[in-house]
Amino acid sequence: MSSIFMYIIAFFSIYVQIFFLVTFLEKRKKIQYRQGTMALANYPEVTIIVPCWNEEATLDATVASLQALDYPAHKLTFFLVDDGSTDSTWEKMQKYATNNQIKIFHKENGGKHTAMNMGIEMATSEYVGCLDADSFVDPVALKRIISYFNSDEKVMAVVPSIVVHTPKNLIQRIQKVEYNWGVYMKKMLALMNGIHVTPGPFSIYRREIFAQIGLFRRAHNTEDMEIAYRMQKNYMKIEHCNDAFVYTVTPDTVKKLYKQRLRWIYGFIKNTIDYRKMVFSKKYGVISWFTLPSGVISIVGAVTMFSLLAYNIGHFFFDKVLQVQAAGFSTNIMPSMKFDWFFINTAAFNMVTIILYILLLIGLILGARLAEGKPRLSINVIPFMLIYSVIAPFWILKAVWNAVTSRKTSWR
């Protein structure tokens, strides 16, 4: 029975990867890889909101990154919103008070989405965007994003490619692999109009959508996911500008990574529960029949694979305990290294797993192509696969547990 379940999970995991690959082969010519600066037919007004909560250390760099944007200054405004910081963020903002391009606001602490909402309400521009204080934008990113709006009036939001800012240790290097892979998946979803999250770092929206569907709502600390669900529910098109890069500072320790992913997965579960009527609904397209179900499959798949791994590790150690009990420590604890092809596991499930890994590797190569311009396989793919397959199930299991017990996750 359990093996049938494993085969079903493996089948749908492969199905998801094939779906991405077929989409890539089908629509690869639509993917743009632009180099250098570009000129737009028109430059609409844009407001970028930077919600700040205790960002004294990163504020200046974030503002400098925004000021370096290749976009007409008179069409671009920055709102720095201090969300009741307890450090010197507000004092640091004062030096920008006289800058014509920058407006500063202070409010009681209410969460990132309330700072965003304040900015949206104050804005008068056609487009509004957000930039988290721990992210930096490529100068040409905004132009490239606006080009999507200019070429298709149905586009209501455009998300950028988020890549890792100067990875310093192994944890950040493996996240770089993951983020690049994410660029590929995001692009494929966008090509099918199935994006389910408009991430905090530099997603740009037509301001009119907030009048139609409302402002950001409190949504399990993943408000950027909820707004995307709501947009999809209202048949609003979300695009992905794969060549607009935003560099984000990723968690540098397993603990920080765990907390971040716990929040993301928990948010996905809770938002999907909130919008459960969108799953397998005839009213909605890819998000309903592919994006959300594949997210659920990835969660179930990771937990299943981890259970299998945990069982095998447990069995191995139990066996070693028996060995020591039977013959003492003098016995040969390590298995024989003598090679015989007969003992290579050729079970059908292993063959299926190999296929799945090959498809994942193809996705990683295509991710590198989109994020770095070259289809390559980084050496960090090995630790990425090894480490994530061990640690990811922990935050997934914890997120499932928290969702079941309605225990909330925290931002930090």
């Binding site: 013959a327 040969n332 024989s336």
Partner: protein
């Protein structure tokens, strides 16, 4: 806009996935068939060895003991046991085919046991024999422990000969052994030099029984004749050549 679902694509992807799945199953099945064929060829090799051992024993009656090799059956017998066990655990070959192989294996062991007893007696070779009866079921944890204990002893005492039998194997020769040595059904059980011991016996206990008859080897590179994880077809016979 969002309402359009490209069902054709969903079906095509399903067919591709199914094709990959079927390919994986066919490849797996083909490799497993090859493995099973290799098991059969090992069995043929052992049959030749058995014939050789019989001829050798006939010769023994006319020749001096110096012409007798210590190991009558080849190293292949241990390898054979490992592979049968692995096949059982990994569903290689049908249950009935594997049972047939196990029966052949058990018969070969009994042949070797009888022959070696005669050889050691006639030629005065120091050797100790252990018949080991186990249950081929996941809940016999003591059987797993027993096979570990015997494996470690065989590494320590090369002259020790261990013959393992599946207690539940439907083979008259094995049933005869069970009757002769009055093997109880609370397994594992071992017979050391004709005396039966029921239940798990650790390596130290067995060592005390066989110790006086055999001397341990100095630490050297011994060839393990079976996987230490063995449960179903534990220790087998073979000594260093």
């Amino acid at each position: 806009m969002n309402k359009n679902v490209d069902w054709k694509k969903y079906v095509i992807v399903f067919i591709i996935t199914l094709a990959l799945f079927i390919t994986a199953i066919i490849v797996s099945s083909s490799l497993n068939e090859k493995k099973f064929s290799s098991l059969k060829s090992i069995q043929d090799q052992i049959a030749v060895d058995l014939l050789s051992s019989e001829v050798q024993y006939s010769l023994l009656e006319e020749q001096s003991c110096s012409d007798v090799t210590n190991s009558v059956l080849s190293q292949e017998l241990g390898n054979f046991a490992d592979k049968i066990e692995y096949s059982e655990n990994n569903n290689i070959g049908s249950t009935s085919d594997l049972t047939d192989l196990k029966k052949n294996y058990s018969l070969l062991e009994i042949k070797d046991y009888l022959l070696m007893k005669k050889v050691t007696k006639r030629c005065g070779i120091k050797s100790s024999f252990i018949l080991y009866f186990y249950a081929n079921s996941a809940d016999c944890t003591d059987c797993t422990k027993q096979s570990y204990a015997l494996t470690s002893l065989r590494e320590k005492y090369p002259e020790l000969r261990v013959y393992s039998f599946d207690y539940n194997l439907d083979l008259s020769a094995v049933r005869a052994l069970i009757a002769i040595y009055k093997i109880p059904n609370n397994l594992p059980a071992i017979v050391i030099d004709e005396k039966t011991y029921a239940g798990f016996q650790d390596a130290t206990t067995i060592e005390k029984i066989i110790g006086p008859a055999l001397k341990p080897v100095e630490k050297k590179t011994t060839t393990k004749t079976k996987k230490s994880e063995s449960v179903s077809v534990p220790a087998t016979t073979t000594e260093s050549q």
